[in-house]
Amino acid sequence: MNPIIPLLILCLPLLGFLVLGLLGHKMSHKAAGWYGVLSMGTTMVLAYITAATYFFSNDAAFITEAGNRLQHIIFNQDWLQFTDSLIIRLGFLLDPISALLIVVITTISFCVHLYSLGYMEGEKGFQRYYAFLQLFSFSMLGLVVATNIFQMYIFWELVGASSYLLIGFYYTRPSAVSASKKAFIVTRFADLGFLIGILILSYVTGTFDFTDFTSVQDGSSYAVALNTPMGILARFQGATFMGCSLLTWALVLIFMGGMGKSAMLPLHIWLPDAMEGPTPVSALIHAATMVVAGVYLVARLFPLYLMEEAALMFITVVGAITAFYAAVVACTQIDIKRVLAFSTISQIAFMMVSLGVARPEFHESLGYMASMFHLFTHAMFKALLFLGAGALIHAVHSNDYTAMGGLRKYMPITHITFLIGCLAIAGIPPFSGFFSKDEILSACYQQSWIWGAWMSMVAGLTAFYMFRLYYLIFWWDEPDYGHHKPHDGPWVMSLPLVFLAAVSCVAGFIPFGTLVSWNGVPYHIHIDWMGVALPSIIIAVAAIALATVMYRKKNSLPEKFAKASCGLWTAAHNRFYWDEIYLFITHKIIFNGICRPIAWFDRHIIDGSMNGLAWLAQRLSITIRPLQSGSVQAYVYIYLFGALLLGAITTACVLL
């Protein structure tokens, strides 16, 4: 494949960032905005071309005769050489998941660019906003097409930084500043794990390249690097650390990076706060693209993870707990963006669990495919929900549902599209969420009924809180909107909503299995209607019904419910006090318990000892001052004493 198009996919957003960043203040808002939209639009088209070429061209580089998809490196440029074998390269790896992701990213990004034209209209720093969006898109694209783990890390960091910049876009608002800081530092902490994981992995294998880790060997399955899967294992054998093999450590630490970006418990705390950013940003970064980077990372290294049962187990457990936790919290939040944020956490946890339960022996790792499928559908409907929320916020100038209610009359487009989003996420057929979630659930059931039941329950909660949100916004009780009745946004805002809603309606019918599977072997999805699908539909409908009862009309049921829950509701409302715990750890323990003592130690002990030396010299100088008493006889006395002592000591030393 001609490398120009992939290269352009990366370069256009970068160029956009540089142009808007350096020259943006000379441009008008309109020019800057449209430049950004066009740049992203072009990128999107190019990404579609690339993906289409990969999936449908039947080129031998991409697909074997037997129809197995291959990994293909389009270009790979040396960037930094560490040792002879450890080289960071910047390149473009095309395989099913990267092709999928570039489509997702460019689509959502384009929608957000377009949407922002309306949403951000007249904001100060409009050009800056677009520059950051472009930077983010560049970084995210670079991340997904990484040919080696270090390239991924590089873009991983860039993604974090651009997320920081975008969350803190309203930089005069202290809450935005602290949210952006929190997001950066929490993900940085996770990245530390990622980095150490990379160090361990690369030290043992002597390579960064994904293709070395996970290459197609015989057309039927991915094999692990360095000739045989056992080869790498052998290198890890014997080397254990604290009871776990090095491979486990490496994989768990790498997953830690994913936990940070994907907001898994306990590193999830930054995501709800990140909603301080402009809402389109939340849609782009904190719902559809960046937060799934963790899932993508695990998927990317999936063949490696397969070798370590413990690591996969860890992923599953973390994912399952997070999914439940986030769903419960989402039921109690007031801020609509926070509800969506927790819902995002929960949905990503779904993907993680799905990856965690995937095994080649169960249906050719159905979980892997399901996870990617859900990633795709979730990106679409979650972006839709966020953009819808953005339209609402744009209309009522508040984030809280208490300021909304009965909006279905005023904002019909938003209402319909939002409803579609809610149906999709709740898993009601024929919307896309149903299909992907169904695959995840069946993957869970294949592993163990415990996971299946657990995740079904979470799915039910999902349906409940989404419809709670839906009713509270669009039904419930109508507050006094004053003279300016809320209304739908301009077309640039509505168009993306409609488009994404349309996608959410039909995406479920994509034969996803033939495109994406863990080893490139195509595979046909079939829905287990009786075993999995029907029960889950029933659960979802029941949950929706419950939500309808509780929230459709203004009533006191929710309040009574909250009171009856013996504090559970308050705890959930306060997100189970995770933030307070973190605040305690960072402020009380790290800041006051480590940093301050160290600073004190430095000033008083280390520096004090240096000053002490000076003081000592001065002190000594004063102490010996009486020697110079001014009296000749004292001088001579010392002279004589000195001479005799000199003789005596030397004699003693020589003779003894």
Partner: protein, 103 residues
């Protein structure tokens, strides 16, 4: 009783020590000068005796004594002059008063 060299050297050492003692304890500078003379003379005795009793071949010790006597005289003269100078200012020759410079 044979007169051993030690019979000379020990008294001269005693004399030397007396000189030192006097130098350290007298408050009058003239008295201190006298003590110094005592010390220098002890040295002279030493040289002469050593030459006479132990190394009778050469004359080095004797000559040294001669020169030392001359030097001692010069030193005394010099010292007296300076002490008189100080006396003009201080109106006494107490060494305890000569301690303005210190520290």
């Amino acid at each position: 009783m044979e007169i051993n060299v030690l019979y000379y050297l020990l008294p001269s050492l005693v004399m030397f020590c007396c000189g030192i003692y006097g130098f350290l304890t007298r408050k009058n500078m003239i008295a201190m000068l006298i003590s110094l003379e005592l010390m220098l003379n002890a040295v002279d005795i030493n040289f002469t005796v050593i030459n006479r009793f132990i190394y009778p071949d050469g004359q080095e010790g004797m000559f040294f004594s001669l020169f030392a006597i001359a030097i001692a005289a010069a030193e005394t003269a010099m010292a007296i002059a300076i002490i008189i100078n100080l006396y003009r200012v201080n109106k006494n020759v107490d060494v305890r008063d000569a301690n303005k410079l210190q520290g």
